[in-house]
Symmetry: C2
Subunit: 518 residues, 2 copies
Amino acid sequence: MTLGAAAHDVNVLRVRRMAIDTYQEFVIYMRRDCPVCASEGWNSQVRVHVANRGRTIVATLNVVGGELLASDEAGLSDAAWLALAAQDGDRARFSPSPPLDSFRRVRGKVYGARLDAEALSAIMKDITAGSYSPIHLSAFVTACAGGRLDLEETIALTRAMVSVGDQITWPKVPILDKHCVGGLPGNRTSMLVVPIVAACGAIVPKTSSRAITSPAGTADAMEVVAPVVLDLPAMRRVVEREGGCIVWGGSVRLSPADDLLIRVERPLDLDSEGQLVASVLSKKVAAGATHVLIDMPVGATAKVRSGEAARDLSRRLIDVGRAMDLAVQVVESDGSQPVGRGIGPALEARDVLAVLRQESDAPIDLCDRALLLAAQLLELGHTVPAGSGLDAARSVLASGSAWRKFAAICEAQGGFREPRQARYTLPIAAPRSGTVVAIDNRRLARIAKLTGAPVAPSAGLDFRSPLGSVIEAGQTLFTLHAESLGQLAYAKAYVAAGPPAVLLGSPDVAIDSAVSGQ
Amino acid sequence: MTLGAAAHDVNVLRVRRMAIDTYQEFVIYMRRDCPVCASEGWNSQVRVHVANRGRTIVATLNVVGGELLASDEAGLSDAAWLALAAQDGDRARFSPSPPLDSFRRVRGKVYGARLDAEALSAIMKDITAGSYSPIHLSAFVTACAGGRLDLEETIALTRAMVSVGDQITWPKVPILDKHCVGGLPGNRTSMLVVPIVAACGAIVPKTSSRAITSPAGTADAMEVVAPVVLDLPAMRRVVEREGGCIVWGGSVRLSPADDLLIRVERPLDLDSEGQLVASVLSKKVAAGATHVLIDMPVGATAKVRSGEAARDLSRRLIDVGRAMDLAVQVVESDGSQPVGRGIGPALEARDVLAVLRQESDAPIDLCDRALLLAAQLLELGHTVPAGSGLDAARSVLASGSAWRKFAAICEAQGGFREPRQARYTLPIAAPRSGTVVAIDNRRLARIAKLTGAPVAPSAGLDFRSPLGSVIEAGQTLFTLHAESLGQLAYAKAYVAAGPPAVLLGSPDVAIDSAVSGQ
């Protein structure tokens, strides 16, 4: 019997793009009666190794009925199609997935063992190769959450995350960078800090993320005014010419394991301290940064909710940074309310432009935060002498050189464009008079997402009732912006139904509720 | 503006069965340009609430290209189609998924909080409703593994698992049941214990599982000789007539949350003590059992690997049983090697029939284990006086009344049939002479699964080299059985490539390896 040959021949199928977007998960589709399923005895949910054009992935099998595929065809989800560089007519090879050895270490962690550098390196390699299913990723994230990664493990995880991706080197130091821990709507300071510090002569190659759980990431807001999807050589050209850039990190493959972990951290809303630190710092190390300033808004409805939590997280960021030869400085900032007025990509970009162009109605709070961060970053990187950062930052903003630098960066990235206004708007009015005593950032972010942000770039909300504002009945608290009536309706219904995002108090009643928008 | 009406109308789509088997996961497919996606701003991986014919599910969205669906259609995976009782032309309603409140408690558990009865009840309800995605299920399983469920939590979990499913009540007590913790190939004693104790006059309504990670579950082996998919009234009729049954537990919806948890426990290979106990006992309580005997094979390559682990698990089973008014007795048994000769549904059924029919070559070890378990179960349930169980069991086996009872149960379940022999067989020969000194149960199970078991019922292996056997070079260690040449080839290649499943030693060399099948 020549069994080997028989087994070999039946494991090849023509591939077809199913045009099914499974997010980043690799899924393959096969008929139960196709030669591969029949000979392997495979069922749905089996993990399958797929080889095509010298590339390999591990994918989850979905068995399909006869209408979707021919019996000599296998369907690929969009992510699998791209990862295998597949083209129509390709014949891919399917075989049982090899055992996921590194997952034994995750299992060990569940049972209380520590993860050493070797284990974390193997786990990050397998995750980056796409060998972890969402179920495996979720178990890894859960096993590390709840403070279960100590300092040494966090350092090893950061190193492992750096090593599985690209790394940028720059011909000179220092290389400055900034990061915001997030959770505060409208806190779009990177688009100001980068041109300010670059205008002062520093090098600041900023890569930014798109929104994960928020109505806008810096990459989303920046994309409103300039292209952000640049490959590494293009990004390098921009930085060499202008000293800075603001590009989407996803296109330069820095710390790619992080992007895959986020896919489960988001639905789980589990964001462990250790993984947060490794996520932030691995991207900075991979980008070649030497000095990193971290903006950490603290507030009851921000991501970091207490001063104690902020200090713990700061210490971990600084300690892990030191182990990675990265000077880290953390600035705790006020996280009690949105920054500026716009919440959503285009509305936030509008605020940024107003500050850079020094328009008379530019949001002062956004301007002040950006100047403070730029000043500290300039001093941290020794671009200017200690104590002179704020003067330097103010000076380039006032002279217009920060705006010219921003415009030049946009041009270098592919061309500047003005933000567009949304098609539909709806003001939400205060049902009665009072003073604004509290703001629920999470609820405002949720409302902005319901209007369509960040997928609809001009959607979001224009916030007009900061803490301490004295509001008359009927006055606008914020205005909804949307690109479709359906989304406007959903956001409006959500505003009307739930607890108020903006709390109004009066001299008599300390805190009272403002249901609005009816 | 009448925004409310606009939002309402666009959220209904015609449903279509996509004929995609996503295992138990609910997946819906929509075009990006369909009115629902467009108005909601949904992307792939969003969790969506779907209502149809008075039923509701929460499903994961996959966005698809234009060819698969019309723009007013939504596709449903097989599991979603069945759960919604959908029919062609139905118009289902799609809305954003409500927040998964119970998952907050899972998050709390990750951060070290305890799970109380209320939390576990809410979690089990949401899991049973299908509201937990595989990512959420994985996080729950991981958060509870590693000994993180204490006695009280395990009791509460067991109660919660019982309460979300059907519960059977019987007109009289005692109701006997048995369970095997598993991990030992060929240990098919339930198919013997049930007819023996029923022949002695006891009531034993046995529900069994299909294979999860093994080459055969009791339901798979029983299905070779009789139908096992019976609904609750049919199962009740069998038990009322014959005193016992052996049916598939999946068709009677006892502890349905367990079936969903297994879907992630299997790929993770994470099976925490607390969840194992709750899984086993919730099914027994739901089936109305009052006295349960648990067979716990202990061995280096069995599920329970040490005497200490066995005692811990026994104590937990007995303590939780007591809280549920269930008398639990645990029998530790030898887990060092397979029981009987067959591994795989039909081959195991063949061994069972040989014992019942008292054929001269019936496997003695399988017979002895079954008699011992039947004896203890008879005494535990006070069907016979203490000390007389073994005599009673032996007597009904020798008289043929156990065989007649088994045949009658099969007839009552829908009719008896003889097992079928596999189309292809391949003996695996010892490469040299020696004595069998060790057996790797896990490797034997893997080989049997590669031959196609349990999906191919007659596939598996016939094991002929128990511990202590004196083997000549060229003698058959075991024979592969398969229904396809491809599967036979895979199993053969796996045998040849890896470490030996059967270790041969000689007087000179204590343990030596036997690579075979080349």
